[in-house]
């Protein structure tokens, strides 16, 4: 599957409806594509270009800027070991090295069975619980070689499927704005004073205006 499925196209349209300018939905839609296929496919980018109203070149320009979008398939589990200063001070080099040995691959590679991709990544904001890592963006903190091994075993045995969805899925709860509650998008080219500001604006701006006259 490469273009959006009909269900995902519906989701895509809902996402688009939240933005005053369609191109703003580009990154969310790329996430949706990655959730669908595990990585961002060429056809998905073409489909997104159509939905957003830009060229595929613009889509790939945005897509390749961001680290999380994978243009090639990655493992079912993307294991990201933080390598930045706080984790480094607490031994992330050794942890990454151990991870490479345990998985039998170098950072950046995927195991032959397609289960794991290992990466050394920049700070993931768990610095006080170093060293840390994420599996498909779910945290494991204060990681030791032993806890890493058991994590890998559990993942391989399918024991963490409830907690850790396959690569591509981030939040499993989507925002949904009920139609009857929506305030609506604010298009940039409609110069309208918000209702609740009107009295305030009238109060503050009219004296200034009359002074000027």
């Amino acid at each position: 599957m490469a273009r959006f499925t009909p269900e995902n196209e519906t989701v895509a349209r809902e996402i688009l409806s939240r933005y005053p300018v369609p191109k703003s939905a580009l990154v969310p839609l790329l996430h949706l594509a990655q959730e669908q296929d595990g990585h961002v496919t060429r056809d998905a980018m073409v489909h997104i270009a159509e939905l957003v109203g830009v060229t595929p070149a613009e889509v790939i320009g945005t897509c390749t800027f961001y680290e999380m979008f994978k243009m090639e398939p990655v493992g079912r589990y993307l294991v990201n070991v933080c390598t930045n200063i706080s984790c480094m001070l607490m031994g992330s080099d050794a942890l990454l090295h151990h991870a490479e040995e345990r998985l039998g691959i170098s950072a950046g590679d995927t195991t032959p069975d397609g289960m794991f991709t290992l990466e050394g990544v920049e700070c993931i904001a768990a610095c006080t619980e170093a060293p840390c890592l994420q599996v498909n963006y779910r945290y494991r903190t204060n990681v030791t070689n032993e806890s890493f091994d058991s994590l890998v075993n559990e993942l391989a045995a399918g024991e963490l499927e409830d907690e850790i969805p396959p690569h591509g899925t981030l939040a499993r709860i989507r925002q949904h704005i009920p139609a009857d509650r929506a305030a609506g998008v604010a298009p940039p080219d409609v110069n309208r004073v918000p209702v609740w500001m009107q009295t305030a604006v009238a109060d503050t701006e009219s004296p200034a205006g009359s002074e000027a006259n």
Binding site: V27, N84, L89, A125, A186
Partner: protein
């Protein structure tokens, strides 16, 4: 030790397991500030925040109330964008606030939107934070259903949609104009200020308030208790409390909400309720006071109060509230390289000095660390730094658009000034190794019999 008993203003619910749910939030006083704000005029709400002297918590420490006043008159719509892209190495607080108390943030956003007249709000969460996204999505769904967000909020004429948006992995997107570019669907490359000050020309070139998650999480407390009460805590230049992440070689790494000004770095690193001292009671070598971009501090800075003006004056910054502690065993070259590599990797690529310069710095440092340094390299490092940040002063000057490029200069100038012998030792070892290699080569040659 000046560990005060100032109230927990933003982490007060961290003890509750259900704080992220609407029920838990409401049970602990949630959304009362919004109700109160709606009973005031937008102007009055704004005044409270100004009186609180709430400083931005994203890094630059600019007063939020002042920023809100920068939106040009008569230009609508205005937007508000929440900066939840937390990616500065060492920084860990916004994620906690988003995961553990999302409604507090949403309430802060709503109050800010009400005060400034923002017709739509975007909550930009870092892409890698799946749980935060999930918690905020759930919180927003609940808040919409309960009438706190969306059309005619709590029956008033205040209406605003709060849209949850995710990034996708790019540190630079934390910079506010890059954040806006990213939110517009573009590559997250910063815009030049001036003319693109977000408050004047931001999202879709409209007036836009960009505030950090922690900044906005303070707003409900300020409205509930009043700006004056808020300003009663902290020090002259920095009011209220702030979250600090203490990481690295301390006994109790953790995130602590402490009162500004009253607490010192020594408290934060050594007090038993905070860092608890250096691991294994070793000596402190250096600490980064405000995230990877900040110049390093040492022993002599420990008694500085956690307060913007004092820290700025001492040549660094409180930045993103990330205190990274290095003990005496730390290899200064490696630590420096680690931070520089981060910035080189995260350069957006727009400015020549940053794109080319930070990578070059990384390569020189790698070379030194790998034992291939040259004696001229230390001067070269400093000169390349100088070409990115002329004068290598604080606050930094820059040949670049945004401060990312110059951020790579901080660790080098810090480490090289303070720990120069460590660099020299590596270079000397390398030079000796090279000399030995040449000597061997020469020996071999001379060993060849003549004729």
């Amino acid at each position: 030790m000046a560990v005060t008993d100032a109230p927990k203003m933003i982490t007060s619910r961290f003890g509750r397991d259900d704080a992220h749910t609407l029920a838990g939030y409401e049970a602990s006083g949630g959304y009362q500030a919004l109700r109160k704000a709606l009973s005031m005029t937008p102007e009055q709400v704004h005044t409270q925040v100004k009186e609180a002297s709430l400083l931005g918590r994203g890094g630059a420490g600019f007063p939020a109330g002042v920023k809100w006043g920068f939106c040009p008159d008569g230009v609508w719509p205005r937007y508000i964008v929440v900066n939840g892209d937390e990616s500065e190495p060492g920084t860990y607080k916004d994620r906690m606030l988003m995961e553990r108390d999302p409604h507090q943030l949403i309430e802060g956003v709503l109050i800010a939107a009400y005060a400034v007249g923002c017709a739509q709000a975007f909550l930009y969460v870092r892409g890698e934070m799946a749980l935060a996204q999930e918690r905020i999505a759930a919180a927003l769904n609940e808040a919409y259903a309960a009438g706190y967000v969306g059309k005619s909020i709590l029956g008033s004429d205040f209406s605003v949609d709060v849209v949850l948006h995710w990034g996708a992995g790019a540190y630079i997107v934390g910079e506010e104009t890059a954040l806006i570019e990213s939110l517009e669907g573009n590559r997250g490359m910063p815009r030049l200020k001036p003319p693109f000050f977000p408050a004047a020309k931001g999202l879709y070139m409209q007036p836009t308030i960009v505030n950090n998650v922690e900044t906005l999480s303070n707003v409900p407390w300020i409205i509930t208790h009043g700006g004056e009460a808020y300003a009663g805590f902290g020090a002259e230049g920095s009011k209220g409390t702030r979250m600090f992440a203490v990481s690295g070689h301390v006994k109790n790494p953790g995130v602590y909400e402490v009162e500004f000004g009253v607490t010192t770095f020594r408290d934060l690193i050594y007090a038993p309720v905070y860092g608890g001292g250096i691991r294994s009671d070793r000596q402190l070598k250096a600490f980064i006071p405000g995230g990877a971009s900040a110049p390093w501090f040492y022993e002599e800075h420990l008694d500085l109060p956690l307060e913007k003006v004092a820290v700025d004056k001492a040549g660094s910054m409180l930045g993103s509230g990330a205190v990274v502690v290095m003990d005496e065993t730390t290899d200064a070259v490696k630590a420096c390289l680690n931070v520089v590599r981060f910035f080189a990797h995260e350069s957006c690529g727009k400015c020549t000095p940053c794109r080319e310069g930070t990578t070059w710095l990384e390569r020189i440092l790698s070379r030194i660390d790998d034992g291939y340094g040259r004696s001229s390299d230390l001067a070269l490092l400093m000169d390349v730094c100088d070409n990115i940040s002329p004068g290598i002063a604080w606050p930094p000057k820059q040949t670049t658009i945004c401060p990312l490029g110059p951020s790579a200069v901080s660790p080098i100038s810090s480490a090289l000034q303070r720990f120069r012998p460590e660099f020299e030792a590596k270079v000397a070892a390398a030079t000796k190794a090279r000399a030995d290699a040449v000597a061997v080569a020469v020996d071999v040659r001379t060993a060849v019999p003549h004729g």
